[in-house]
């Protein structure tokens, strides 16, 4: 009895496991997903047709084959992607050898574990809902196994949901108060270097143009206090200093001498919620003066995390928009380097400015760009020739930010002014409802910095000379072919924009408070309660108080549930009637039936026979027939009954 396989319970188990596997299967290559999904389907069909399980050898062969395929695909069986693929395959194979309740129990536990691993795929709100639904389904089918019968009981799904509701206080308490550790316990080598998104560490013509079509969020920012003007929101990313004639690259060597920077003027305090991008740039505003743990400021004034962002991360930063820096000469010399040859026309142009002072050279170049009728386009012509800068400046005259930034730095270096390209994002979209700024990949931008001896690094954005609207009003207002942009980046109907912003605000709060709830946020929350450490007396006090409150609430609920059932209305009227009889001198005996009592009463009070009979009739109809009209009649009759004292 205990080890038979009820087929309906098995279907329920297979269905619940499919729910647990689905998000993982969607991340696998389609052929592998189909192969894995075929196994439970086969198992279900075997049950349906009443066939026996495949032989042990076939099962082992299948398992080895599946694991070999997973290994071949991922080159590993542990860690994030390979491990999950192996877990999924194991669940599928294990289904082929379910003999009884013990196997069902093991599979159910694997199902719970796979549901927990769903958040490796995504931490969206929907994924949480799906995981909860899966947990409810797994718990529901568990009940059928406990009953050992092959029947569906509809109330069991409700019971599982109810369990989830009962669990909510425990869940919230643990979620808020369980100590969060920062940093991983261990790291899998292959967890690094997944497909990165967003900015790349090489700038080549076209690399920003591709990003301009990507409307996915890069990060969200909420300012503590007044936000700076949008035209100054230059979010600093990679700094490109080496030019090979076509591509701009970062220099990773450190000269050993660090620049000194002095912040002046007011500061801006803000909190950024970074989307995972497998990069370590944190894209702070110039110039960060305070930054969180596990991040550092490089000699190029980039704020970078110690490890690539593999998940959403919140960073609180204080920046100072006004700053001076002193650079070592070696760095400045490097920022004059150009390839030995190439782009002769551009070099000739720059040579004309060499007699001017450095600031005048910068102005002259900007002036030249502004007057040159250049156009700002998402689809500039390719520049395949050996002199791409010349081609851009003198032939095609059509480009995107990275083209102009590269060309401008080329001109500056050729004119003898140290200059470099800075990549990052510009501006963002303010979400009024949520009071934060959304910066998308499409806001990616490239600008330049030039070194002026008396003023240090100065930001110059050549795009401002060519398409001033880009700086103030965003991409859709500035490019010549805005129709190519994805819907949300174009100018859209106000109601649509409002709706979209509302949704994004919800997502932002979700990310901020639920997904971004980390050690730091937990501490913030606890600080508000006057707790400064998890080991403090204050924390223990709060915790004990919370637990006691919960327990007391539960006890009260139990008491309330187990209170005696209210004596129903008919009974109450009847008791009042008995009291009246008692006053008239007729006491009811314990255990006396209503009929017997009435008989005795009419014997003693013959004058009230009709009234007493009516009361008995109404009482019986109201109490046992659940007749509401009889109840009303009973009430009035008892209330108006006037008995003369029995002799």
């Amino acid at each position: 009895m205990s080890d038979t396989l009820p087929s309906r319970a098995l279907y329920a188990l297979i269905a619940a496991l499919m729910m647990a596997l689905l998000p993982h299967l969607l991340t696998l290559p389609p052929w592998l997903a189909l192969l894995i999904i075929a196994v439970p389907v086969w198992r279900a069909s075997l049950v349906y047709r009443g066939k026996a399980l495949p032989s042990r050898w076939l099962r082992y062969a299948l398992m080895l084959a599946l694991l070999a395929l997973v290994f071949w695909q991922f080159r590993t069986l542990i860690g994030r992607s390979g491990g999950v693929a192996m877990l999924v395959s194991l669940i599928a194979i294990k289904l082929l050898e379910t003999h009884g309740r013990r196997d069902a129990a093991v599979l159910t536990l694997l199902g719970y574990f796979a549901s927990g691993a769903m958040f490796l795929v995504s931490q969206s709100f929907w994924m949480l809902l799906w995981a909860l639904a899966t947990a409810v389904a797994l718990t529901t089918q568990l009940m059928a196994w406990q009953r050992r019968s092959d029947r569906f009981e509809r109330d069991e799904a409700w019971r599982a949901l109810r369990m989830l509701a009962e669990a909510t206080p425990v869940i919230l308490l643990l979620f808020l108060l369980f100590p969060r550790l920062s940093g991983p316990l261990w790291s899998m080598p292959e967890d690094r270097g997944g497909a990165s998104s967003g900015l790349s560490d090489v700038m080549s013509p076209g690399s920003f143009t591709n990003l301009a079509l990507d409307d996915s969020p890069a990060f969200r920012v909420s300012f503590d206090g007044e936000a700076p003007p949008v035209s100054t929101m230059y979010w600093r990313g990679p700094v490109f200093e080496r030019f090979d004639g076509r591509n701009w690259q970062q220099l990773h060597d450190d000269t050993g001498v660090r620049p000194t920077a002095i912040a002046v003027g007011p500061t801006v305090r803000y909190s950024m919620l970074m989307e995972p991008n497998e990069r370590s740039w944190l894209l702070a505003l110039d110039l960060p003066v305070r930054w969180p743990e596990r991040t550092r400021l490089t000699s190029r004034f980039q704020l970078v995390a110690d490890a690539p962002l593999t998940q959403r991360r919140r960073v609180d930063i204080v920046s100072s928009p006004g700053w001076h820096a002193r650079e070592p000469d070696a760095v400045l010399r490097r920022n004059l380097d150009l390839p030995a040859s190439g782009n002769p026309k551009a070099r000739a142009l720059a040579r004309q400015w060499q007699t001017l002072s450095a600031p005048a050279r910068v102005d002259a170049a900007q002036q030249w760009l502004r007057a040159g009728r250049f156009s700002y386009s998402l689809t500039p012509p390719l520049l395949p020739g050996p002199d791409p800068v010349d081609d851009l400046l003198f032939t095609t005259r059509e480009g995107f930010c990275e083209h102009y930034a590269g060309a401008f730095v080329f001109l500056m270096r050729a004119a003898g002014v140290p200059a470099r390209v800075v990549g990052g994002y510009l501006g963002g979209e303010r979400n009024a409802g949520g009071d934060y700024w959304l910066v998308r990949q499409a806001d990616a931008h490239a600008w330049t910095e030039v070194w002026l001896d008396d003023r240090g690094w100065q930001r110059v954005d050549p795009t401002a000379a060519i398409a001033p609207n880009r700086i103030n009003q965003g991409l859709a207002q500035s490019v010549t072919d805005a129709a190519r942009l994805p819907g949300v980046l174009r100018n859209e109907a106000p109601w649509l924009k409002g709706l979209r912003q509302h949704w994004d605000a919800t997502v932002f709060q979700w990310n901020r408070w639920v997904i971004g709830y980390d050690a730091q946020r937990q501490m913030q929350l606890l600080n508000r309660l006057g707790i400064d450490a998890l080991a403090s007396m204050a924390f223990i006090g709060w915790f004990a108080a919370l637990v006691l409150t919960l327990l007391a609430g539960y006890a009260v609920m139990q008491r309330w549930r187990s209170r005696p059932p209210p004596r129903d209305a008919a009974m109450r009227s009847w008791l009042r009637f008995i009291a009246k009889l008692d006053r008239a001198g007729i006491a009811a005996y314990p255990g006396e039936t209503p009929t017997a009592l009435i008989q005795r009463a009419t014997g003693a009070l013959p004058g009230h026979r009709d009234a007493l009979d009516a009361i008995a009739r109404c009482y019986l109809a109201a109490r046992y027939g659940e007749d509401h009209a009889a109840l009303d009649e009973l009430r009035t009759r008892v209330r108006t009954l006037r008995l003369s004292r029995a002799p």
Binding site: F113, G116, R159, M163, L164, I171, F175, Q311
Partner: protein, 317 residues
């Protein structure tokens, strides 16, 4: 020491669960502990938590806590699956020593949610299984007890347990129900046939021809065929024909005729004779020291004889 502890425990159990014919399972008499499956489930939740810490997944933290919370809810559910169930004893059927006695117990669910997957057993005896008791419904379980000795068998402490709904924890309670079962002596196997000559006053009746030998008053157990319907119509009283052809012989089974056997062996043999005589349709009387049962026949007489044999030498309780 151990024995003292055990007897202490028994006394404490009896104090906590006093014998009664109706027992409602109260909240402070229900015990809950996790099962092995529950422990592995908890380990799964901890694994999810470790994953959450390692990959810094806030929602995986949340899900680990969902698993822990579900485990806690399951504990309460198991407990509530037993809470307030009303146990009542029903009448028992006598059995012979060596056979299995069954104590029927009715379980009522006074609440709304159905009670499921209940396991009932008497201490040290096989369990019976109740799949479900629906709202305001009653189920009856027959709890087996192997019998060894004749006499009254008190109902051992009953244990009721359940792992429903999740199997992660087991809730159980004890009840001492006030019920007893009469155990007849074990009938001797292959007992020698009773010899009238050896029996003191075994009488052989003359066989009647076709008419009846007389009428006697109806006693429960007489078959309708034996009832004198003609007389019933006339006298309005149930009479039974004493028909010699059906009746066979009359025996007196006397304790004192078996001096060579020990007490239990004598009782066993007498039991076997009573059963044989009843099966043969004979009338029989039983004489025990201090008790004599007059001649008779039928289930009631049989029960009276077997009861006397079962309780022979035992202080009446």
């Amino acid at each position: 020491m151990l024995r003292w502890l055990r007897s202490r425990w028994q006394r404490e159990q009896t104090r906590r669960h006093p014998p009664a014919s109706v027992v409602a399972l109260k909240h402070n008499r229900i015990y809950v502990l996790p099962t092995l499956f529950g422990a592995i489930y908890a380990a799964t939740a901890v694994l999810v938590l470790i994953g959450a810490i390692n990959y810094q997944l806030s929602l995986a933290y949340l899900f680990a806590f969902v698993l822990i919370g579900l485990g806690h809810a399951a504990l309460l559910q198991s407990y509530r699956n037993l809470l307030k169930i009303e146990l009542r004893t029903l009448a028992t059927e006598p059995v012979f020593a060596g056979d299995t006695a069954h104590f029927p117990v009715s379980l009522s669910n006074p609440g709304k949610p159905p009670r499921r997957a209940l396991n009932l057993s008497l201490r040290g005896h096989p369990a019976s299984w109740i799949e479900a008791i629906d709202r305001d419904d009653t189920a009856i379980a027959h709890l087996p007890v192997a019998t060894l000795a004749r006499g009254w068998l008190g109902m051992p402490t009953m244990r009721i347990d359940t792992a429903y709904p999740s199997g992660w924890c087991k809730a159980w309670s004890y009840a001492n129900l006030d019920a007893r079962c009469l155990v007849y002596p074990q009938p001797e196997a292959n007992a020698p046939p009773f010899h009238g000559e050896n029996g003191d006053r075994g009488q052989r009746r003359v066989r009647g021809d076709d008419d009846f030998a007389g009428l006697r008053n109806y006693v429960p157990g007489d078959t309708p065929r034996q009832i004198a319907w003609k007389q019933f119509a006339r006298l309005d009283a149930l009479l039974v024909r004493q028909d010699d052809r059906v009746e066979g012989q009359t025996w007196l089974f006397d304790w004192h005729t078996l001096p060579e056997l020990g007490t239990e062996a004598r009782l066993s043999r007498l039991t076997a004779w009573v059963l044989a005589a009843e099966a043969a349709g004979d009338r029989y009387a039983l004489a025990l020291p201090g008790t004599t049962l007059p001649r008779g026949r039928g289930p009631a007489h049989r029960h009276a004889c077997l009861r006397a044999l079962a309780l022979f030498g035992q202080t009446p309780s």
